[in-house]
Symmetry: C2
Subunit: 195 residues, 2 copies
């Protein structure tokens, strides 16, 4: 069955980037530790990544993340969500104002009328596959706080960052139901159902 | 070998209490979810708790936690760290000013000259067993930020609290090395070595 999955890497103290995010440091300064698992040669991690990508029928992301992945040194046919798979999922970008140009025109749809609209478009595009909300932290946090996700798939990296972009909004309590836990040297890969 | 272990339960967003801590709500309002694992009938969790308690030669805690556990409805021979075991470890309380009275005089030593002094006393008392820093969040966070712990033993409850007492100090980055992961319905029980 199609699900809306928030799928993101975070530090043990709840940050999805290190401090110091800018155009050159999409994950903040020395934030790469958060995503080591996704570039690992570990068979378990390759399998996790492949399974998640294969289930994805559409991707939702925020504007900051779009600006990074659509930049000239961003995604390509070799690098990016679903890259190398037969079908790369369409991506829906939630933003208040449309960017002037889109480099990867065939992959991105700009959505300026809100998060729920983007999710609806993504659901329609995904068919019976999943909708993956892949970041940034702000969009993921909004989806969680609004109760719009079915599943939270976290990759908890073994680092305390002490600052950066928080995933969870202050003031919002969310009860979670553990579904599965896979531990690797680079992360705890934890799936929760959202009650 | 004797280790200094920070051993504490936290929410997925890094809080060791829910919001609203007061004399009646030591874990904050509806914060009991953080400690469900410690009162569970799950064999794995009983075993984890028993193993940790058996290894403990001394306990270090902060003043707020002391005020809760030494209160009339606090620890007893049946309830408390190590209760029911042959040897209940001595507890060292880090505080700026000594409390006027101590109910459980045989268990608690009040230390007013700082965290390192309390850890040294605890190490001496523990012999070849471990020193467990059990809370509150403030003392645990100080021990972690100062690099005084060998091991971080976390019990990550399946809840986002959105506020409360944070474990990790802002502005301090800590690299961790995963040692073991045990998942139960009530928590991810994760041990890290501190580099």
């Amino acid at each position: 069955m199609s699900e809306v999955i928030v799928d993101i890497s975070m530090s043990l103290d709840g940050y999805v980037t290190a401090p110091g995010v800018d155009a050159e440091h999409g994950l903040g300064v020395d934030g790469e530790v958060l995503h080591l698992w996704a570039f690992s040669d570990d068979d378990t991690e390759k399998e996790l990544l492949s399974r998640a990508t294969t289930r994805s029928g559409a991707v939702v992301m925020g504007r900051k993340l779009f600006d990074i992945v659509d930049a000239p040194n961003g995604w390509s046919e070799e690098i990016g969500y679903g890259a190398g798979h037969a079908a790369e999922p369409p991506c829906f970008v939630v933003t208040h104002s449309a960017p002037e140009t889109v480099r990867l025109k065939n992959r991105f749809t700009i959505v300026t009328d809100g998060l729920e609209s983007a999710l609806n478009l993504a659901r329609a595009a995904a068919g019976d596959k999943d909708v993956v909300v892949m970041g940034g932290g702000d969009v993921c946090g909004q989806v969680l706080a609004a109760g719009l996700a079915d599943t939270l798939s976290l990759h908890i990296a073994p680092v305390v960052l002490g600052g950066g972009t928080p995933l969870f909004a202050e003031g919002t309590r969310v009860e979670l139901e553990p579904v599965s836990t896979v531990a690797t040297p680079n992360a705890i890969h934890q799936t929760y159902a959202l009650r």
